[in-house]
C-alpha cells in the first residue's frame, strides 16, 4: 500500500500487463458475513461511519490539520496548505518545495490570503519571504523556549464499499459485496529535521490477508508492515544576479511523490480509493508501478518562484532489500536495469488570486521481468532482456482562491511507448513487440467554505492504446484482440469539518469524510460488464 489510500484509480497496474491485477491496498479486517443480510450490513456500515464521523466532528471538535505534525510545526490550519487532502494550495506547494522545513510563527499569514492576494506587489514580496526561514532563521526567544515535539503523526481509514456486481470468487475473508474495512493504518515522520533538511516518511500496516501483489494470498513475501511514501529533502536558497533560486536534493521511493502538483500520479485524484475494485484499467509505468520498490536521488530548483526544474534517477532495490522493508518484490513486474531517469519541468505564473501551471514530466525505464513468481518454485531471477518504457507526460493546473472557496482545474496526459523485448520474445506474453498506452485525466474541483468545508470533485478518465491479445485477451464474441481502452467518471463529495480553525485540541487531529462513486463506461477494451465494476465508496479518514 502506498500512501494509505492516496492512489490513482489504477493503483499500481503492472505496466507489462502480464500479471493479474496488482493492488497494493489493504483489504483489511472486514468480517465475513452471509449474503442474506446485505441490507442489514449496509445499514450497519452506514451507521458505523456516521457515528464515527459524528464522534470525530463533535468529540474531537477542534481538529484541524491535514498532517498534524506539519500543523504543529507551521502553526497553520490545514486550509493554508490544502484545498482538499492532499491537494495543495500555492502555499502548500512551497512548504513542500522548501523541504518541509518552514517553521511556526513565520508563516502565520497565508501568502495567498483573500485580501492580500488582491495586491500583486504585496503578494510578490511575500513570496520572496518563502525562502527566508531556510536561508537564515531569525533568532526567536519564544521559539527557543518552546518544547520540541517529534513530528510524528498517524492516520487510519475506515471505508465501506459497494460494487454494482458482486466480486468474483474467491472473496474470502471478505464478502462478495458491501465490505467494511478498517485499514490501513499509517505512521509518519512529517516535518523538519534540521533547518535545511526535512522529511515526509510513511510506514503502513496492512491487515493480514491483504492483496499485495500478483500472487495475492500465496506470495511468501507479503508483509503487514511496509515502508510507504518517503521523501527526504535538503534545501537551500541563493540569489544570482536578478535570479532567486530555491534548490534542493530529494531522496524518495516513488516517482512523482516529490512533485509539488496534484496532477502527477503519486498524489493525483482520487486521493482515497477502495481496495475492492474489480479488474483495473491498465496504467503506465510512472503511475505507481515501482512505488516503494525503488530508491531515487535527484536535484531540483525553483527559479524566481516561477520555473521548476528537476532531474532524478531511480534504481530498484534488491530483492532482499525490498523484502526487508516490507515490500513484496513480486508486487512490481521486475527489476530496473541501471538507473531510470525522471525529469520534471513546470512553469507556474501566478497573479492576484490566480495560479496557473503548465508542465511536463516523464521517465525512461528498462524493466527486466521476473521469470517465475509462482507461489511454489518462485525465483529471484530476472530475464536478461528488458522491456523498455518511455513515459512522457504533460500536465496543467489552474487554481483560483475566492472568498472562502477554491476552484481548481487539472489535466494530465501520459503517453507511454513500450518496447516489449522480454515480454514478447522471452515470456511470449504479448502479441506485439511494441505497444502504445495513453492515459488522460481531466478534473474539476470546488472547495466551499473554510470550516465545515465541502469539496466537490469530478474527474473524467480515459485509457487507450494498442490492441494486444497476449496482454489484454480476446473478445469472446468477435475473437479480436482486446485493447486497454477504458474510460469513465469519478464523482466525489468530501466534508472537512475543520479547515481553518484553531480551536480546542489543535493541532493534534484532523478528519475527512468522503463519498465517492466511480462509473466505468468501458473497461479493458469492452463495455460488456464494465459497469459491474461501478463502485460506491464511503470512507472516513482520521489523522492524529
Amino acid at each position: 500500500m502506498v500512501l494509505g489510500y492516496a492512489l490513482n484509480p489504477w493503483p499500481s497496474a503492472s505496466a507489462t500487463h502480464i500479471g493479474v491485477r496488482v493492488c497494493e491496498s489493504s483489504q483489511g479486517l472486514a468480517m465475513r458475513r452471509d449474503g442474506s443480510d446485505r441490507n442489514l450490513r449496509f445499514a450497519v456500515a452506514l451507521v458505523e461511519i456516521i457515528v464515527l464521523a459524528a464522534w470525530l466532528t463533535m468529540g474531537l471538535a477542534p481538529s484541524a490539520q491535514a498532517l498534524p505534525s506539519f500543523a504543529r510545526q507551521t502553526g497553520q490550519p490545514c486550509g493554508t496548505c490544502h484545498t482538499d487532502f492532499p491537494a495543495l494550495t500555492p502555499f502548500g506547494r512551497r512548504f513542500k518545495l522548501l523541504g518541509y522545513t518552514v517553521g511556526g510563527g513565520l508563516f502565520r499569514t497565508t501568502p495567498f490570503s483573500s485580501n492580500a492576494a488582491r495586491d500583486v506587489q504585496a503578494e510578490y514580496d511575500k513570496l520572496l519571504k518563502y525562502a527566508e526561514p531556510v536561508k537564515a532563521p531569525p533568532p526567536n526567544a519564544d521559539e527557543n523556549s518552546k518544547d520540541w515535539v517529534p513530528p510524528i503523526s498517524a492516520m487510519a481509514i475506515i471505508g465501506f464499499t459497494h460494487t454494482q456486481a458482486d466480486q468474483p470468487s474467491p472473496q474470502d475473508p471478505y464478502n462478495p459485496n458491501n465490505n467494511l474495512v478498517y485499514s490501513p493504518f499509517s505512521m509518519f515522520w512529517g516535518g523538519a529535521i534540521t533547518s535545511n533538511i526535512g522529511a515526509f516518511a510513511q510506514v503502513t500496516y496492512n491487515a493480514p490477508g491483504s492483496v499485495a501483489g500478483p500472487t495475492p494470498t500465496t506470495s511468501p513475501f507479503l508483509h503487514t508492515w511496509t515502508w510507504d511514501n518517503t521523501d527526504v529533502r535538503f534545501v537551500g536558497t541563493a540569489n544570482i544576479g536578478s535570479l532567486d533560486f530555491v534548490y534542493g536534493i530529494t531522496a524518495n521511493n516513488n516517482p512523482t511523490v516529490q512533485d509539488l502538483w496534484n496532477t502527477t500520479p503519486a498524489w493525483g485524484f482520487p486521493y482515497a480509493v477502495s481496495s475492492f475494485f474489480g479488474p483495473q484499467a491498465p496504467g503506465t509505468v510512472i503511475e505507481g508501478t515501482f512505488a516503494a520498490h525503488v530508491g531515487g536521488v535527484g536535484a531540483y530548483t525553483m527559479i524566481n518562484d516561477l520555473l521548476y526544474l528537476e532531474v532524478t534517477g531511480y534504481k530498484t532495490l534488491g530483492f532482499s532489500e525490498q523484502n526487508a522493508l516490507g515490500t513484496d518484490p513480486f508486487g512490481a513486474p521486475g527489476l530496473l536495469g541501471g538507473v531510470a531517469p525522471y525529469w520534471r519541468v513546470a512553469l507556474e505564473p501566478h497573479w492576484d488570486r490566480h495560479t496557473l501551471m503548465i508542465g511536463t514530466f516523464g521517465m525512461y525505464s528498462e524493466i527486466h521481468p521476473w521469470l517465475n513468481v509462482a507461489p511454489v518454485g518462485w525465483s529471484t531471477a530476472v530475464d536478461t532482456l528488458a522491456d523498455k518504457f518511455t513515459d512522457i507526460g504533460f500536465d496543467g493546473q489552474y487554481q483560483y482562491q475566492g472568498d472562502n472557496y477554491w476552484v481548481t482545474l487539472r489535466g494530465t496526459y501520459i503517453r507511454e511507448f513500450q518496447r516489449l523485448d522480454s515480454t514478447f520474445t522471452t515470456l511470449a506474453a504479448s502479441t506485439n513487440p511494441t505497444n502504445l498506452l495513453n492515459t488522460l485525466k481531466l478534473q474539476a474541483s470546488v472547495a466551499l467554505g473554510a470550516d465545515n468545508r465541502v469539496v466537490l470533485t469530478g474527474q473524467y478518465f480515459n485509457v487507450w492504446g494498442t490492441a494486444d491479445a497476449g496482454l489484454y485477451g480476446t473478445d469472446s464474441v468477435t475473437g479480436l484482440a482486446l485493447t486497454p481502452n477504458s474510460n469513465g467518471w469519478i464523482a466525489e463529495i468530501a466534508y472537512i469539518p475543520f479547515g481553518v480553525s484553531k480551536s480546542f485540541g489543535w493541532p493534534w487531529f484532523n478528519t475527512r469524510i468522503g463519498l465517492q462513486y466511480i462509473y466505468y463506461n468501458k473497461l479493458n477494451g469492452t463495455t460488456v460488464g464494465a459497469q459491474d465494476n461501478n463502485t460506491l465508496f464511503l470512507h472516513a479518514w482520521v489523522a492524529f
Binding site: 510578490y124 497573479w351 512522457i392 503517453r415 513487440p433
Partner: protein, 256 residues
C-alpha cells in the same frame, strides 16, 4: 515588472516636467521601453506537417513471411508522403544580452495527423497487392535557440533533439492464404533545425511563425501480423518538415 513600473513612472515624470516648464506644445517623444525577451514562456501552436518516408521491403515482409522464405527476388522500397495537421504546445526560457542577442531553450510537443498510404504489387502472388500505411502521430523536441531582437521582434534559429512516434501497417489478402495485417510501432530519435520570427505584441504575449526540418535517419521496425502472429522486419528512413504558427505567454517572476 519593476522595470515596467519604473518606465511608466519615468514617462509620467517626464510629462510632468514638460508641463511645469511650460515648454512649447511640441513635447519630446514619450519614453518607450524596449521589449525584454528575458523570461520564460508557454504557449500553443498549430500548423502543417509534411513527411517523406522510405520503407524497405514490405513485399519481402509479406511474401517471405506468409508464403515461403525466398519467395521474393529484388528489393522494393515504398515511399509514402504523409501530411497532416500538427498541433501542440511549448515551454521555453530566453535570455537577452545587452547586444540584443537572445539565447534560450525550448521543449515542444505536437500531436499530428500525418498519414499516407501506398499500394504495392506482390509479384509472388499475382494479382495481389499490399496496402502500406505510415503515420506519425507524435513529434516532441528539445531545442536551443539563438536570435537577434529588433525590440519586440525576434528573428531566431533553433536546433536540437527530436523524437517521432511512428506507426506502420502492411495489410491485404493473399490468394489462397487469407488476410494479413502487419503492424509496427517505433519511437525514433533524431534531430531538428529550424527558424522563425516571434513578435511580442504586448508585455506578456507574442505570436510566431516557424519552419522546422526533422531528420530521423534509417532504422528497423519489427512488424507483427495480427492474424498469424508472425513477425518480420522492415527498414525505414524519414524526414519531416513542419510549418507552424503559435502564441506564447511570457512571464518572469511572480505577478504579471
Amino acid at each position: 515588472m519593476k522595470k515596467v513600473i519604473f518606465a511608466n513612472l519615468a514617462a509620467l515624470a517626464l510629462a510632468g516636467q514638460a508641463i511645469a516648464a511650460d515648454l512649447p506644445a511640441k513635447a519630446e517623444p514619450p519614453f518607450a521601453q524596449r521589449f525584454n525577451w528575458t523570461g520564460c514562456y508557454a504557449g500553443m501552436h498549430v500548423g502543417g506537417g509534411f513527411a517523406s518516408k522510405s520503407i524497405t521491403d514490405p513485399v519481402l515482409l509479406v511474401q517471405d513471411t506468409l508464403i515461403a522464405p525466398g519467395t521474393t527476388t529484388g528489393i522494393t522500397t515504398v515511399s509514402p508522403q504523409p501530411s497532416g495537421v500538427v498541433a501542440g504546445g511549448q515551454i521555453g526560457c530566453d535570455y537577452e544580452f545587452a547586444s540584443s542577442i537572445v539565447i534560450g531553450v525550448e521543449g515542444a510537443a505536437s500531436g499530428s495527423t500525418m498519414k499516407a498510404n501506398r499500394l504495392v504489387a506482390l509479384p509472388g502472388s499475382p494479382p495481389d497487392a499490399a496496402l502500406v500505411q505510415a503515420d506519425t502521430d507524435f513529434l516532441p523536441s528539445l531545442t536551443a535557440r539563438i536570435g537577434y531582437a529588433f525590440d519586440n521582434v525576434l528573428l531566431y534559429a533553433r536546433g536540437g533533439a527530436a523524437l517521432a512516434g511512428d506507426k506502420f501497417e502492411v495489410s491485404g489478402t493473399l490468394t489462397g492464404i487469407g488476410p494479413y495485417d502487419f503492424r509496427g510501432l517505433d519511437n525514433r530519435f533524431g534531430w531538428v533545425v529550424g527558424g522563425g520570427v516571434d513578435w511580442a505584441f504586448s508585455r506578456n504575449w507574442s505570436v510566431f511563425v516557424e519552419y522546422d526540418y526533422y531528420q530521423f535517419g534509417t532504422t528497423n521496425v519489427l512488424m507483427t501480423d495480427q492474424v498469424s502472429a508472425l513477425s518480420g522486419l522492415v527498414s525505414y528512413s524519414q524526414h519531416v518538415q513542419v510549418v507552424k504558427g503559435g502564441v506564447n505567454f511570457h512571464v518572469w517572476g511572480p505577478g504579471l
